[in-house]
């Protein structure tokens, strides 16, 4: 993840021809590239996409994916939906909260579509299935080693 700069944001907006109807796609790309959306970025997008700041702000606030604070170095999403609940995701989430350092952001996600191999987590964008506490710990170790 790199820092948001006016240039990087412009480049992303232009990839979508700075069309207002592409706002969700622009923001998704920004989050995938930079991890989050800053206040400055919201202001800049309003100008470049010819929208009001309220419009952009509203869309950013509406969608779960559009973080407005900088995430940690690693992002771990743990599925909290029913199929994973049936396989112990509540206990896994409790375990996970104690198993990672402060530089890891843990987020809830409602279904990764991996429901036949539950519980499922997503580590830095990769979906992993059949995760119990031990497997979670080895994922954290692998995540550290890959740093």
């Amino acid at each position: 993840m790199t820092d948001q700069t006016p240039e990087s944001i412009s480049r992303i907006a232009q990839r979508f021809d700075s069309k207002p109807e592409m706002l969700v796609q622009v923001l998704q790309t920004i989050v995938q590239t930079h991890g989050w959306v800053s206040e400055d970025t919201i202001r800049q997008l309003a100008q470049e996409l010819n929208l009001s700041r309220a419009d952009v702000h509203g869309v950013v606030e509406y969608y779960h994916d559009f973080r407005t604070t900088k995430p940690g170095k690693h992002i771990v999403k743990i599925c909290q939906a029913e199929a994973c609940q049936a396989m112990g995701s509540r206990a896994l989430t409790q375990h996970a909260n104690t198993a990672v350092d402060d530089d890891t952001t843990i987020e809830a996600v409602y279904c990764l579509g991996n429901c036949a191999c539950a519980p499922a987590v997503m580590v830095n964008g990769k979906t992993i299935g059949r995760v119990d506490a031990a497997r979670f710990d080895s994922l954290v170790t692998a995540m550290r080693e890959a740093e």
């Binding site: 069309k19 207002p20 109807e21 592409m22 706002l23 969700v24 796609q25 923001l27 998704q28 989050v31 419009d55 509203g58 869309v59 509406y62 969608y63 779960h64 994916d65 559009f66 939906a81 029913e82 199929a83 994973c84 609940q85 049936a86 396989m87 996600v109 409602y110 279904c111 990764l112 579509g113 991996n114 429901c115 036949a116 191999c117 539950a118 499922a120 997503m122 964008g125 990769k126 979906t127 992993i128 299935g129 059949r130």
Partner: protein
């Protein structure tokens, strides 16, 4: 000697349990041993509990080995993998497994069978045959075939696809759209994803047929962001189809123009609701629209739009190839054809099972699923995602038929079946239904926005055994209000799982439900 084909799925579930690492290890081992192999990345057959599933083609037959880890690979080669040699994990031909051979694979027949990103393999397996036939038939006959098939919307609402297509075809206006709903948010569902990962050209062909039938030159796919691998595969497939002249202007010299734009969602469940999805496709907050006007009249950017789920669309090419009547001959009553059921949660043999309507839940869970993964008794089964009812054992013999499910206060939805064993606390599941609605409500209508939060509070009081009769009555009244007065299914159906818990699992509340 030509290279020996080894199939390793590139599909989210298989990859989530190590398929990429297995593929890498197979390539390494083959190189080390000087064996000439061709790695084929297919989709999944849907037998998820066997993943990673490796198949090797020997004398035209595909011999499968199940649950392969990278550590297994050297031993597999030693055991003669390339000749289909014997091994503890050797299954034999996967298509002869009872799980698969007894299915009615109408929509998913290419999934697992072909290399997902090969136009050549696709063409060898009837790829684009239906689109060519559609051009010969003409738009009206295509819509008639879809109508005759009895195909209903597989996203959950079950609206007849042919009627929707006819409405858009008859609507006035130059610009019309096809919007494919791939925002598969229901827990326990993954059929859209498997189709897109295993047969992406099949969806592209289906959308082109829809476009031709209703007079739309542009299609959108709204794909949820939780499916990053699907995004990679589908994006590549769209590019490949365009390069090969199967998308764009004057497709294959037919005079028909059609192109597809892929959009990503951003983590909002309610964007699976068709009008919220259209708002999101327009770059806005995914807030539900009032209906009417129907999207078929005023949809995307105010233009007539066919909004169909992935599986609905992907069922069409075979309807064109084999005729609507053939599809309608499967299934029961007004539930014609097949549905790709998805066995999920606490289930021994989880995966995708495409069967004709009419099969019972018990048959699916016991005969295909093999019971719970934990080996404990089944306590509850949630069908149709977070807005679907929890069914107790006594209802498992209900045939899977849209109307039969409506009659018992349940729904089939997108065909997700989530199994819970007897350790589940159903009061918590009822609470979660309300909590999920509170998290995901788009906020437009009050019953959903406020009702869901009040619902969590009331259920918390019931769990804590405070004023039990009063709170029970209040919860029932709240469910009535949400059901009657919400704008869409989010608030309108959240009461389904809640009511089902009150009705069938009341003993899980400290109070044991209402004191009568």
């Amino acid at each position: 000697m030509s290279a020996i084909k080894i199939y390793v799925p590139r599909e989210t579930t298989a990859v989530s349990v190590g398929a990429d690492e297995v593929a890498l290890e197979i390539a390494r081992a083959a190189k080390k041993r000087g064996a000439s192999i061709q790695l084929v990345r297919n989709g999944s057959w849907g037998a998820c509990w066997l993943e990673p599933l490796v198949e090797v083609e020997v004398d035209g037959a595909r011999i499968a080995y199940n649950n392969i880890t990278p550590e297994d690979v050297p031993g597999l080669f030693d055991a003669g993998l390339l000749e289909g040699g014997d091994h503890d994990k050797r299954l034999g031909p996967i298509i002869e497994e009872k799980y698969l051979i007894t299915q009615d694979r109408w929509t998913f027949w290419r999934c697992g069978l072909i290399e997902a990103l090969s136009l050549e393999d696709f063409a060898l397996h009837q790829g684009f045959k239906a689109l060519r036939k559609a051009w010969e038939m003409g738009p009206d006959a295509v819509i008639d075939a879809v109508t005759e098939s009895g195909l209903r919307g597989r996203g959950g609402a079950g609206f007849p696809a042919g009627i929707k297509w006819r409405t858009v075809a008859d609507a006035a206006g130059e610009q019309k759209y096809i919007a494919c709903n791939a925002d598969e948010g229901d827990s326990g569902t993954f059929s859209d994803r498997m189709l897109m990962e295993g047969d992406p050209f099949g969806l592209i062909e289906a959308m082109a047929i829809a476009g031709f039938a209703v007079g739309a030159s542009k299609g959108y796919i709204y794909l949820r962001s939780e499916y990053p691998l699907t995004n990679v595969i589908l994006s590549r497939a769209i590019d490949m189809a365009r390069e090969a002249g199967w998308l764009g202007d004057d497709i294959q010299g037919s005079g028909f123009d059609f192109d597809i734009e892929l959009h990503l969602g951003a983590g909002s469940y309610v964007c699976g609701e068709e009008t919220a999805m259209l708002e999101s496709l327009e770059g806005k907050k995914g807030i539900v629209r009032y209906k009417p006007p129907l999207p078929a009249h005023e949809g995307l950017f105010g233009k007539p739009t066919v909004v169909n789920n992935v599986v609905t669309l992907a069922s069409v090419p075979n309807i064109i190839n084999m005729g609507g009547e053939r599809y309608a001959s499967m299934g029961v009553n007004r539930s014609k054809g097949t549905l790709a059921f998805q066995l999920a949660g606490n289930i021994k043999r989880g995966g995708l099972v495409e069967k004709s309507f009419g099969i019972t839940l018990r048959e699916l869970i016991e005969e295909y699923g093999g019971g719970t993964a934990s080996g404990r008794p089944v306590k509850a089964v949630q069908v149709g995602g977070p807005l679907g009812a929890y069914l107790p054992d006594s209802q498992l013999d209900t045939p899977l038929d849209y109307e039969a499910f409506t009659e018992i206060g349940a729904m089939i939805g997108h065909g997700g079946i989530v199994v819970f064993d007897d350790t589940v606390d159903m009061a918590l599941q009822a609470r979660f239904a309300m909590e999920f609605c509170a998290i995901e409500s788009c906020g437009k209508c009050t019953p959903c926005r406020i009702g869901s939060t009040r619902g969590v509070e009331v259920i918390d009081r019931m769990i804590n055994d405070e004023k039990r009769d009063e709170n029970y009555d209040l919860l029932v009244e709240l469910c009535d209000t949400m059901e009657d007065a919400s704008l869409c299914a989010m608030g309108g159906m959240t009461p389904y799982p809640v009511r089902s818990v009150l009705k069938h699992f009341a003993e899980d509340f400290a109070s044991g439900g209402r004191n009568e």
